[in-house]
């Protein structure tokens, strides 16, 4: 820890999930002073999200794969003198005089606390993870329709379910994990509806063979689904939710190769909840606001472009885990460690342990190859917009329908996501386009497969004016003024 509160940290790590934890403990063990910021009260991020201590849960690992790896990171965190800043919602990272970074955060469980905080650091590790990608469909705003990752998050931390009979739908490997944990927790899961097939994986035999643990993981989920009598339907999608104030049933329709619904194949499944998602989107606003270069991933999202040492195109700013492309917790841990080593090497002015770096890089490249194969296998195909009716809400916040968006394109001449946004307000609401960004970009491009451009937004989270007013140099809050929160 710095000698005085006004001294900068060597490294500020943003995000205390698998990547951030690994980076923080690695750097601290090499002698760096580290601040670890996260919005949540507990470490673990989304993957290792777990019940609050007050639950007294003796088997938190029952809801997780590879809990032991997290437990080990947490032990190393406890042994370190890393400054933990939980309940910190970072809204911007800026460059200060003298080549220092300033991390600006609002505090409290939902960022509405009185205290605004500025943490200064020589280097930054961005480990902010991902959020779920949503593709709208008629009825997706009916209560009882929840994100697949959302259902899992609420289960992992709150030990609750959105209903008794839950259909799981969308695309991507997360669906199988969600279905098996919902079923294990007592929910009836009549079906998992996957828009892709799984045959896409077979086009990447090398990546599969090099990652046997992933196949074991898939087999574990597969066996759990069989045991709970969950039916898996591929090349299908939920194209309608029935019910007005609450989900009563869903219609599942077969899709052609381009994800166009095949007429006359709709079948109704009774349920009281639907958990839906189409993969994950890297959460990179803090980096794109600084001008960091991005790359397009195999499933069409924007991720940060990183060099072999996990550094972004902006010097002194590293990234690890999902921010560089969605790949799961073991990859995030590996990348976090690499980034921690690289930041320490930079500040110490000497190269990192060559053998350790070589082994980590080999592991990272192997897992990245698998992640890319999986992403390619679940990339949304252009025809999905055919399941949108004109009155389907696309932007949940501003209540903008597909019809309004189509009109902006066909009648008003919009050709890109930004123009569509300015004409319709889609993406201007509370969530800042996180839920509708993909859909709005697809409708704007007219080909159904576009992704929103990486945007440069000055605020990554809503910030009260009072926090801005208090964020100048003289009154900028110090982390030490924030009460510590127990993990």
């Amino acid at each position: 820890m710095p000698a005085s509160v006004s001294d900068p940290y060597d490294l500020a790590v943003l995000g205390a999930g698998a990547a951030g934890l690994a980076g923080a403990v690695t750097a601290a063990e090499l002698g760096l002073s580290v601040a670890l910021l996260d919005a949540a009260p507990q470490t673990g991020g989304q993957f290792y999200r777990h019940p609050a201590p007050a639950f007294g849960a003796v088997r938190p690992e029952a809801l997780h794969h590879d809990w032991a790896a997290f437990a080990e990171l947490r032990r190393r965190l406890e042994r370190s003198d890393i400054r933990r800043l939980s309940g910190h919602h970072v809204w911007a990272v800026t460059k200060e005089d003298g080549d220092l970074w300033a991390v600006h955060a609002v505090t409290g469980p939902d960022g509405t606390g009185e205290q605004a905080v500025r943490v200064r650091a020589r280097t930054i590790l961005l480990a902010t993870g991902a959020y779920e990608r949503q593709l709208p469909f008629p009825g997706w705003t009916v209560p009882g329709v929840v994100g697949a990752g959302g259902a899992q998050a609420m289960l992992k931390s709150g030990l609750v379910l959105p209903g008794k009979r839950i259909v799981v739908a969308g695309s991507g490997p997360l669906l199988l994990a969600v279905a098996s944990s919902l079923a294990a927790a007592g929910a009836q899961v009549p079906a998992v509806i996957e828009a892709s097939g799984y045959l896409g994986y077979a086009r990447h035999p090398g990546a599969l063979a090099a990652n046997p643990r992933k196949l074991v993981e898939a087999a574990v989920h597969g066996a759990a689904l069989l045991r709970h009598r969950v039916r898996l339907r591929t090349r299908s999608a939920v194209t309608e939710v029935h019910g007005t104030d609450r989900v009563a049933a869903v219609t599942v329709t077969r899709l052609d190769r381009d994800w166009r619904p095949v007429r006359g194949t709709g079948r109704r499944i009774a349920c009281d909840a639907l958990a839906v998602g189409h993969g994950l989107v890297p959460q990179i606003e803090l980096a794109t606001a600084l001008g960091c270069a991005t790359r397009r991933t195999a499933d069409g999202t924007s991720a940060l472009a990183l060099n072999a040492h996990q550094e972004t195109s902006v010097c002194g700013l590293w990234a690890a885990g999902e921010t560089g492309g969605v790949g799961g917790a073991p990859l995030a841990r590996t990348e976090g460690e690499l980034a921690g080593l690289a930041a320490a090497a930079r500040l110490h002015g000497r190269p990192a342990d060559e053998g350790r770096v070589r082994a980590l890089r080999r592991r990272r490249d192997r897992m990245r190859a698998f992640a890319d194969a999986m992403a390619a296998g679940h990339a949304p195909a252009a025809g999905w917009t055919d399941w949108l009716t004109d009155d389907t809400e696309v932007c949940r916040c501003e209540e903008v329908t597909a019809g309004t968006l189509r009109e902006a394109v066909s009648d008003l001449g919009a050709r890109d996501a930004r123009t569509v946004k300015l004409l319709t307000r889609a993406g201007m609401g509370w969530c800042q386009g996180r839920m509708c960004g993909t859909a709005a970009a697809c409708l704007a491009a007219g080909d159904g497969a576009a992704e929103p451009p990486a945007e440069r937004r000055p605020f990554a989270v809503p910030v009260p004016l009072s926090a801005l007013a208090s964020s100048d140099d003289s009154t900028g809050g110090r982390p030490d003024a924030v009460p510590p929160v127990d993990d």
Binding site: A39, P41, Q46, P51, A52, P53, A54, F55, G56, A57, V58, R59, P60, A62, L63, P109, D110, T112, Y131, E132, T141, P143, G144, V145, V146, G147, G149, G150, A151, Q152, A153, M154, L155, S157, G158, L159, V160, L161, P162, A184, A185, G186, D245, R246, A273, R396, C397, E399, G429, W430, C431, R434, M435
Partner: protein, 104 residues
């Protein structure tokens, strides 16, 4: 096989306490978010939208979508999936932007 999430995770929570949803008592467990407590009681919506007045509740579950905004103890626009439930919390359905009483 576990019948409930709490059994699955081997939870042994402290005594439950009471919060209210539009005046109706709802039990909550220490460590639960407001949204989790409401889900436990079978309540999935606690907001109506600004334009069409449609019901909404938690969607993304991780603080990203802002669909779970609720009025908590008179303060609108709190993300119910992030705010921990506290004994005696009065949750009220947030209508529109939640600022009707200040006339905006």
């Amino acid at each position: 096989m576990a019948r409930t999430p709490a059994e699955l995770a081997g939870a042994n929570p402290g005594a439950s306490f009471e919060i209210t949803m539009d005046g109706r008592p709802v039990p909550a467990l220490p460590g639960q978010s407001v949204a989790a407590a409401l889900w436990s009681a079978g309540i999935l919506a606690w907001r109506t939208t600004r334009t069409t007045g449609r019901p909404r509740g938690a969607f993304c579950g991780i603080g990203q979508c802002y669909d779970c905004l609720a009025t908590i103890n008179g303060e609108p626009n709190r993300r119910a999936c992030l705010v921990p439930a506290s004994p005696g919390d009065a949750i009220t359905t947030q209508e529109g932007h939640g600022h009707a009483r200040i006339g905006v």
